[in-house]
């Protein structure tokens, strides 16, 4: 399906290379998630998985603005954040398989992918769990005068958690270097956000903390990149937090296997026409920044990488049950 709109790939401060980089990251995420969905349905993965398909532009455009030392907090829908922040597909896939070679040595699984050395402070199974952790990381950066910034990704459902309010107030009082990025995919599990949330434009909630808020087309990686850039620069230069309401839509169910009785396929198909990957590709081609062949090559490379990751994960050992009680505390490790 060709997308309804073409994204404008020419954005202030980017160029051909950056724009193609966005594309590569989005395709890697899309390919990983599509593959994971299949692996899950084939019964190869323990637990359950929430895929990021359709929302790739947000993690991609935002993380492209971050330095390696910057922090992100993630959600139950965290694979895209992990990839965009630099976690390798092998370690990520191995974690989804619960293998000893995974990012968390198989302890965490899909909902707890993390790599603190990359500033990826963890996918989190508690909705709203990241608000305060991101504020704490930003506080830490300010305390250490390190110049780091923290980005908190969260969903439109999470915005109604009390922790949103507590964290944004605290962050605003201390002008912390943190950016709150709402991945507003219109649903929280099975519930249309309008049924549980008092306002439509979530960015107005910034008003309650005297901070800037902005609604962004979250399916346009260029728009994400621009908005995130402004917010991250503001954070880094002492201007305090920003709230971004990024409009998007998840292509798949809430989790893989979701029967999706709560939304009709007409709606889903309609929203799929705003596919962030397709729009960006259309832009790249129309701008002459990539040929169709180059685009295919990106997909092929990603597919090969994901298959490698699967192989790596499947060939990796399970954790040794004898280590099951290690790492509850710091000292106890064999």
């Amino acid at each position: 399906m060709s997308p309804d709109q073409t994204a404008a790939v020419v954005t202030e401060g980017t160029g051909r290379q950056v724009a193609r980089g966005f594309h590569q990251t989005m395709v890697r995420i899309r390919t990983f998630e599509t593959h994971v969905e299949r692996l899950f349905l084939e019964g190869r993965l323990p637990g359950f998985v929430h895929t990021y398909t359709g929302e790739e532009a947000i993690a991609t455009g935002t993380c492209a603005r971050l330095d390696a030392g910057d922090y992100i907090t993630s959600t139950h829908r965290g694979h895209g954040h992990a990839i965009a922040k630099g976690i390798g597909l092998k370690a990520l896939m191995a974690e989804l398989y619960g293998k000893a070679t995974g990012t968390c040595r198989g302890r965490g699984g899909s909902m707890h992918v993390a790599d603190f050395s990359l500033g990826m402070l963890g996918a989190n199974g508690i909705v709203g769990g990241g608000f305060g952790i991101a504020a704490g990381a930003a506080f830490s950066a300010l305390y250490r005068s390190s110049g780091q910034v923290a980005v908190c990704f969260f969903g439109d459902g999470a915005i109604n958690k009390g922790t949103f309010h507590e964290a944004l107030n605290f962050a605003a009082v201390h002008r912390l270097p943190v950016v709150y990025v709402c991945e507003n995919n219109q649903y929280a599990q099975f519930t249309d956000r309008h049924r549980t949330t008092a306002v439509d434009d979530l960015s107005v909630r910034a008003t309650a903390y005297g901070i800037p808020g902005m609604r962004v087309d979250g399916n346009d990686v260029g728009a994400v990149w621009t908005a995130a850039g402004v917010a991250i620069d503001r954070a880094r230069s002492g201007g305090g937090p920003t709230l971004l309401d990024m409009q998007t839509y998840r292509f798949g169910g809430h989790y893989v296997g979701d029967a999706e009785v709560y939304r009709d396929s007409a709606e889903v198909n309609d929203r799929k026409r705003l596919d962030p990957v397709g729009r960006w590709e259309a832009g790249l081609v129309s701008e002459g920044w990539a040929t169709e062949e180059e685009i295919s090559a990106v997909w092929q490379t990603a597919a090969a990488e994901v298959e490698d990751a699967q192989l790596f994960a499947e060939q990796s050992p399970d954790p040794d049950p004898g280590t099951a009680l290690d790492d509850v505390f710091t000292e106890a490790r064999r």
Partner: protein
């Protein structure tokens, strides 16, 4: 009474239906429940009772419980869904500082007739934030009643009674058994709070258990029966109020006891059971009470690690043999 085989989850739906048909004050609130809830525990209720009585809540666990408290003290009978039991940790102030204390600290002028439903336990590698069992926290708090059924019939009967009850009841439904089937009365059905039942008769060792650990204990009992050891399995059903009489009756017969639950052994509810049994029946006991519970670690994702942390039938078998002084098979 006519019985059919239905799932545990469906049995709870039936209890809700009976209660909601009988009494307009009963309503349900929780996240996504009009879609049936995460485990089908609310399936069909929205269709029958509509959005007035089946209320989809924002992801705001604290306010779900607080609204339940406010509604319960002003004439309604809320059944609040907390989905996974770990999410109650975001509403502990409301559960403990408010719901459990209101009646007492306000001098008995008000009751708080609410039910908190939460799914606990390990199912299919859900990892550290979606696998815990937290009954020890609730049971320690005066003012809360706590039930944890092990089978569909009790699931129906205890939920019905919990909704009728004038006090806050924490209703724990183990994820692993929510989809299991068993015979369930078709009619309205009540199981009293605070009454244990004997899930299996035996004379050698008593296994005191509840929730999903009851079928696990029965499985262990079958295996032990092959070795000629007759285990009695007591299903507590209610933790608060606790049916110590039933425990004592079994222990007086067997004089050897295992207490078994899936939650962490250290500081778990089994410690309360073990302590009371020792205190009250010290001279009866032929061996110290043996506890079975999870090892002290957050629940890991990896299936082999998960199995290493969580007790299964093996652990019960081993504990029973231990109380018999037999050398451990492992």
């Amino acid at each position: 009474m006519s019985e059919r085989r239905v799932t545990f989850g469906q049995a709870t739906v039936e209890a809700m239906q009976h209660a909601m048909r009988d009494d307009d004050r009963v309503f349900a609130l929780g996240e996504d429940i009009s879609w049936g809830g995460n485990f089908g525990q609310f399936r069909g209720l929205a269709e029958e009772f509509g959005p007035r009585r089946v209320v989809d809540m924002p992801i705001s666990e604290a306010i779900i419980m607080a609204v339940a408290v406010g509604a319960a003290t002003t004439g309604l009978r809320p059944v609040a869904s907390m989905s996974f039991v770990e999410f109650t940790l975001g509403a502990m102030d409301e559960i403990v500082n408010q719901a459990s204390k209101f009646r007492y600290m306000f001098g008995g002028q008000v009751s708080v007739p609410l039910v908190l439903r939460a799914s606990d336990g390990v199912l299919r590698s859900s990892a550290a934030q979606h696998s815990s069992s937290l009954e020890a926290l609730f049971a320690h708090m005066p003012g809360l009643k706590v039930v944890a059924p092990s089978n569909p019939a009790d699931a129906k009967g205890l939920l019905r009674t919990a909704i009728d009850d004038p006090d806050p009841v924490v209703y724990l439904e183990h994820k692993k058994i929510t989809s299991r089937r068993g015979p369930v009365p078709l009619e309205d059905h009540r199981v009293p709070l605070g009454k244990a039942t004997t899930a299996r008769y035996g004379s050698d060792v008593s296994v005191i258990s509840y929730s999903a650990m009851v079928p696990t204990s029965l499985e262990a009992a079958e295996r032990l029966a092959d070795q000629g050891i007759e285990v009695e399995v007591v299903d507590l059903r209610s933790l608060v109020p606790l049916d110590f009489e039933a425990i004592a009756a079994s222990v007086l017969k067997t004089r050897r006891v295992v207490v078994a639950h899936e939650s962490w052994m250290f500081g778990g509810f089994g410690a309360e059971l073990s302590s009371q049994i020792h205190e009250e029946l010290f001279d009866t006991l032929q061996a110290p009470v043996r506890r079975v519970g999870a090892a002290p670690a957050p629940i890991p994702f990896s299936p082999p690690l998960e199995a290493a942390v969580i007790p299964g039938a093996d652990a019960v078998v081993e504990a029973v043999l231990h109380t018999l002084g037999a050398p451990s098979p492992i």
